[in-house]
Amino acid sequence: MKSNWQKGVLYVAVIGIEGCWLYALMALLNNKVADGSLHVFGILLLYLISFGLNRMLLRLRWPAVCLRTISWLIWVAGLLLIVKIQLFGGLAWSDTTWLLAVPRAIADVIYTFKPELLILISTAAIWWLGRRLAYLKISFAALVSEFQLGLFIMVITFFIASQIEVELAHSIYLIVAFFFFSLLGVSVSHALEGTSWLSGLYQGHWSGLLLVSISLILIVGFIISLVVTPDFLQIILVALKWVWGLIMKVFAFFASLLPEPEPAEPPPPIPMPEAVPPEEFKPWTMPEFLRNGLRLGWSILMAGLFLFALWRLSSTIFGWLRRRLAGTGGADYEKLPGAFRADFLSFLKRLLHNLLGLRRLFRPKAADKPLLPEIASIRQIYRQFLHWAADAGFPRQLSQTPHEYLYELASLLPEAQEDLGMITQQYVRTRYSVWLPTEDELHQLKQSWYNVKRCPLGDRR
């Protein structure tokens, strides 16, 4: 039951995707071939009929040839019906003119492209698509392909329409519907291919989140289309020109540093009478850019509130619908109480620390205590050792003490256990006590580090 519902969503998504681009294409052809006389929705109904009928035929388990023949016979009947209703609506059913309209249109194809031919080709394509969908096993890859193909056809259609100056009705709705069905279908199909939000807990939350994501994409897409205008591009172009001019000026400045022949003296400027500006009172008005910025901020705030409300509403509805169907698949879910608060406090602390750090920047720095050369040398070796182990795939974790880290590495490199122990011991002694190594010990440490470096730690991964 649950699976059928999810598959149903996928079929609806594919029908939606294909319906959108078919409608756009048909609307264009209708405008060009039949002067908009055909009813595109009526023709598209055949797509649903084809899908439904072929799904039913599929259940009969008859031979494939039989099913194909029956399917295409039904298409012929549908074709004639559409021709009769859309082109010969006023004619009596007994008049056979409408029956011969299609063969006649085929015969006249070299002279003219009649609407009957458009109906013939479009219904054949639509019928084939409906039949294909009935047999199609919908997967994530199939839906992504549908999305890409549909997008390509839509872009081409809108481009041609703009070139031949045909106004396609409901284009914006069509685009929104296409993206809605595409994103919904892609998401659900991806979720069905593995264990994910559709088969776990909190399905209501996830469904709401999906709707919010799609809405966000649509809003951002529209904002992009509002922002990217010819004027905007002009501004960018001007800015680019200004930057280019600046670069050229810099080049000119450097070029001017080179010696060149002295130019002839320019003539003295003609004295001009100084113009006195008239005094007038100017009231303060909000600059245009500030007003635009505030308007944009207000819009974003409103959109955010709208999305939040949409998410809450939809998650509640979906949660109520799906509560009983949730299955966990052997997984135990847990909440992390206090984790958000801890992270938030940690964030505030970091913020405060950074602010204090900024303040420290303005203070005179205390001179750093120089380390003794022996200690600096040991620390340097230990740092190199840490880098070496991290590069080999075994970095020291923040929670590990030097000895715990030593234990981990020694289990991987038993042959170098002694050298590893030497490096760690020396480091711990100098780091956490006031111990100073002797010349011999330093030499020994360097030898140990040399030995360790030669061990193939990377191979033990």
């Binding site: 481009f159 994103l183 892609v186 994910s196 996830w206 897409g221 591009l233 958000f340």
Partner: protein
């Protein structure tokens, strides 16, 4: 070190090249004032941008851990494995897949996908995680075959809600599981005693004289604190323990002749015999240690973890059996070198009177010569031959037992020569 990688995005359009074309198309359409085309292409960029951003941050703040109920088991037992994933951030994860690489055969009831290395499979778990939530799974892992096994690394894959941009991270989370060899009961075993007068019937065969200190050595965690030589420790700046003179000792050393089980190119003649040989070593060690006899183990094999041969000096402490069983679990088919050389090197440090128990499969002429030489030098020997018996001509002079199946262990009896 964590390794991050982004698999190919779903569809060519959402790849870098496709998006560049879309961007170029958008700018051209905007330049020529084609509003509808700008909307379509703007929506594509919006979908790609939001998905990519979601995917980019999907694995931030995600941690995974593996918990094992046991790390050492006997064949036939199982380990409870618990995998836990935590999403510690506000961004939810609509899907996340965890692939833990485990040895093939550890989870026989599951159909696993082949792993990245031969002999390994991926144990895959998937879930959807909201903000500040975690999920855990339990799985039983069955150990049926002796060995030293590695679990991990773990690969996490997640992404946006549409699945456009998957993103993966491999975490070097490695754990090791040791499956000990099988131990078969041995009814009675005639071990050559140290002194010809005869072996004592006492349970404990080692007696050290606490007044006869013959030296000091480095402290090891198994030593009693009463043995610590404080003055020597102070002098050495390192803990030292006293070594007492033994008054009575019966040292048994088990030698596993790895190259007698393998052909010249390193392939095992018979896998079952090889495992039986290892089980024989384990069973003998268990039998002797139960009676508090010091037992050591030597094997000319490259151990699975270190690549070095196994050499455990005789001891009878409580941890000795565990140490021997662990070494036996790590034994591989690969010989570290010819056994004859290995034996000659290792027996140098053995005290006089040590009893050698050799476990082998096919005795080569050179090995037989070596055994004859040892026998002639008066060393105590016992041979456990695994598999079909061979006629080397020395079976009557050396204590020689043939083991073809686990049931034969109960037949090892009688005094050795």
């Amino acid at each position: 070190m964590e390794e991050r990688f982004s698999p190919q995005p779903a569809g060519y359009l959402l790849g870098r090249f496709g998006l560049l074309i879309v961007l170029a198309g958008l700018l051209l359409a905007a330049w020529y004032g084609q509003v509808i085309l700008v909307i379509v292409l703007g929506l594509v960029l919006s979908a790609a941008g939001i998905s990519k951003l979601w995917s980019r941050y999907s694995l931030v703040g995600v941690s995974c851990e593996r918990w094992l109920s046991e790390r050492r088991i006997f064949p036939g037992q199982y380990i409870e494995l618990r995998l836990r994933l935590v999403n510690r951030k506000l961004l939810p994860l609509p899907w996340i897949q965890l692939d833990d690489e485990i040895p093939t055969g550890f989870a026989p009831e599951l159909s696993l996908t082949p792993g990245s290395r031969p002999g390994f499979s991926f144990l895959s778990k998937a879930a959807a995680l909201l903000w500040y939530t975690g999920v855990s799974w339990k799985q039983r892992l069955y150990g049926n075959k002796r060995g030293y096994y590695t679990l991990g690394p773990m690969t996490l894959t997640s992404g946006d809600i549409f699945g456009f941009y998957p993103r993966s991270i491999t975490q070097p989370l490695i754990d090791h599981v040791i499956i000990y060899p099988r131990i078969f009961p041995i009814a009675q075993m005639g071990i050559p005693p140290l002194y010809p007068i005869g072996e004592t019937t006492a349970e404990l065969r080692i007696f050290e004289d606490p007044v006869r200190v013959i030296g000091v050595r480095d402290y090891s965690p198994r030593d009693s604190r009463r043995r610590i030589h404080w003055k020597a420790s102070a002098r050495h700046q390192n803990l030292q323990v006293k070594v007492f003179e033994p008054t009575t000792s019966l040292n048994v050393v088990i030698f596993l002749v790895i190259d007698s089980f393998t052909a010249s190119h390193g392939e095992v003649y018979n896998e079952d015999d090889f495992e039986l040989g290892i089980s024989a070593a384990a069973s003998v060690a268990d039998y002797l240690l139960e009676r508090r006899n010091p037992v050591g183990l030597f094997a000319n094999s490259r151990l699975a973890d270190s690549g070095q041969p196994a050499n455990i000096l005789p001891g009878s402490s409580t941890g000795q059996l565990v140490e021997i069983l662990e070494a036996l679990a790590k034994i591989t088919h690969t010989a570290s070198g010819p056994f004859e050389e290995f034996l000659q090197t290792e027996q140098i440090g053995m005290p006089w009177g040590t009893t050698f128990i050799l476990i082998l499969s096919k005795a080569s002429p050179s090995l037989i010569n070596l055994l004859v030489g040892m026998k002639e030098r008066g060393q105590r020997l016992m041979v456990l031959q695994i598999g079909e018996p061979t006629d080397g001509g020395i079976e009557h002079t050396i204590a020689w037992h043939n083991i073809r199946q686990p049931g034969d262990f109960s037949k090892i009896s009688g005094e050795t020569r």
